[in-house]
Symmetry: C2
Subunit: 297 residues, 2 copies
Amino acid sequence: MNIGIYGYGNLGRGVEAAIAQNPDMQLVAVFTRRDPKTLKIETESATVVHTSDVLSWKDKIDVMILCGGSATDLPEMTPALAEHFHLVDSYDNHSSIPAHYSAVDAVARKSATTALISCGWDPGMFSLNRLYGSAILPEGNDYTFWGRGVSQGHSDAIRRISGVLDARQYTVPVEDAMNRVRSGENPVLSTRDKHLRECYVVAADGADQAEIRRQIVTMPGYFADYDTTVTFITMDEMRAQHRALPHGGSVIRTGKTGNGNNQVVEFKLTLDSNPEFTGSVLVAFARAVYRMARRGD
Amino acid sequence: MNIGIYGYGNLGRGVEAAIAQNPDMQLVAVFTRRDPKTLKIETESATVVHTSDVLSWKDKIDVMILCGGSATDLPEMTPALAEHFHLVDSYDNHSSIPAHYSAVDAVARKSATTALISCGWDPGMFSLNRLYGSAILPEGNDYTFWGRGVSQGHSDAIRRISGVLDARQYTVPVEDAMNRVRSGENPVLSTRDKHLRECYVVAADGADQAEIRRQIVTMPGYFADYDTTVTFITMDEMRAQHRALPHGGSVIRTGKTGNGNNQVVEFKLTLDSNPEFTGSVLVAFARAVYRMARRGD
C-alpha cells in the first residue's frame, strides 16, 4: 500500500513512525503548505510535496492520511481531498461529526472514493467500545474518563492569557470516581466529580501571577466547572519535565443482566505518546480503507 | 427479529434473559432434547419444542442461537443446523476453531445461510480486542489474564475424583503479574506466574482428603502447572457461598511506537454472571447476523 501524509505536525510524524512498523505499506509522499525544501522528514524514500501539487500524485497514492487540525483544516481538506483520494482523517470535534460526515459522504459517493472520518482513539477506539458496550448491555450506563494526559486545547487556552509564556494542562481522572463506576454502583457524576485539571504555567517576568491564576480557574468552558490547580514553573522546568504528550483514559460500560447481576466492561488506554498512538490507529484503519476501496465499499 | 434458542442450560437461560432486554427481538421457541413438557422457561409467549421437530420451525425463526456444549454438542449441531438456519454459536475450544469453521462454512455456503461461530467473550470480545491490539501496535506483546472466576471445566475435573461430592474452582489472576504488564515492562511470564487456582471441595464422609488434594494439585493439564489451593467445605457452605458463576479477565496489548514510547491497551471484563454476559454477547451478534443475512453476506 502506498500511503500519503497530508500535514506534518505531531500527528503527521506519529503516522510516519507507524507506517515504518508495517511492512505491507510504504510512505510515498508528505504534503505540506510550507516550502517543501524546509521540511525534514524521517523517511528517506518519501518525497516532500507542496499541497498545491497534490493532484499530480492521484495515481501514486492508495490512501491519504489527513493530519490537519479539526478546528479549521479538516472541514475543508477532507471533502476536497475525498474527490480524488481514498482517505482517513481524525476529525475530533464530536458535536460536529454528523455535519462533517455529510460533507465528506456527499463527495465520496459522487467520486466513488472510500473515506473514513473521526478515526483515532476518541473519537475512534473509544467510540467503537461505547458501541459494543451498549449493544451488549442495553440496560446500563456509559462512563468516559480521560487522562492522566496533556490536553492541547486547554494548554492553548492558558497560553492566550496575557503574561503567560508557556503552559501545559494535564487532565486527571478522579480515582475514587473511577472505582465507584468499576464497582457497578452506577453513580451519577458531575463534571467536577470526574476530572481534575492540573496546570503548569511559565509567566513572564513581572506578570501578575494571582491574576493569571484567577483567569485560568474561572475560564468558562475550560476550567470553571473543574477543581483546577495552577503551578508556576520556570521555562527550564517546562522544557525538562513537560515535553512529552502522554494521554489515555477509560471507557466503562456498566449494566445489569438477568436478575440484577452487575456486568462491567472497561476499555483502557495508557499512552506515553498521544500523537504516536493516534497515528498508529490511523495507519491500521488506512489498511481497512484500502481493502474496502478495492471491494468497492 | 424472531429468535430461537437451541439448548436450555445456564447459557440458554442467559440468552433468554438478554433477549428480554432487546425490544427489537423476541424469543419464539426453545428447542430441547428433553421432554418439552418437563421444561419450564421464563418467556410466556415462547414455545418449548423437541429438537426432533426443529425443521418445522425453519420459516418462523430468523436467527437460531445455539447453546450446546463445545465438547460434543456443537461440532455436530452447528453444521447440521447451518443447513437450515442463520445462527450464532459459542464454540470455545480455541485450538479446534479452524476445523469447526471449515465444517460450518462448507454447509453455510452451500445453503446460503449466515453463521457466526465462537461468539462470546473468550473467544469473542477478547479475540476482537487481540485483533485490534495487534493491528494498532504491530511491535508488541499480547497478554490475557482470566478471573477471578469460576472455571466449569476445572470444577468438573475435580468432581470426577473419587470421594468428591461437589467442587468449585476459581481461576485467579496474579495481581503483581498484571501490574508488571500494565507498566509496559513486557515481562516473560510462565503459566504459574500468571494465575492461581483456588479449589473448594465437598468430600464424602470418610474420604481421604489428603489423597483428593494430591490428585487435584498434580492433575496434568488442569492443575500441575499452577500454584493450587484446596479448601474442604461442607455441602451447605458450597450452596451458600459458591452458587454464582462470576468471571472476567483482561486482554492487554503492550507495544512501542516511535522512539520507544510505551503504549498499553487493556480490555477488561468484571462479570457477576458469566452465562448471562455470554448470552448478552450472543444476542447482540445475532442482530448482526440477521442484518448480514438480509444483505446476503
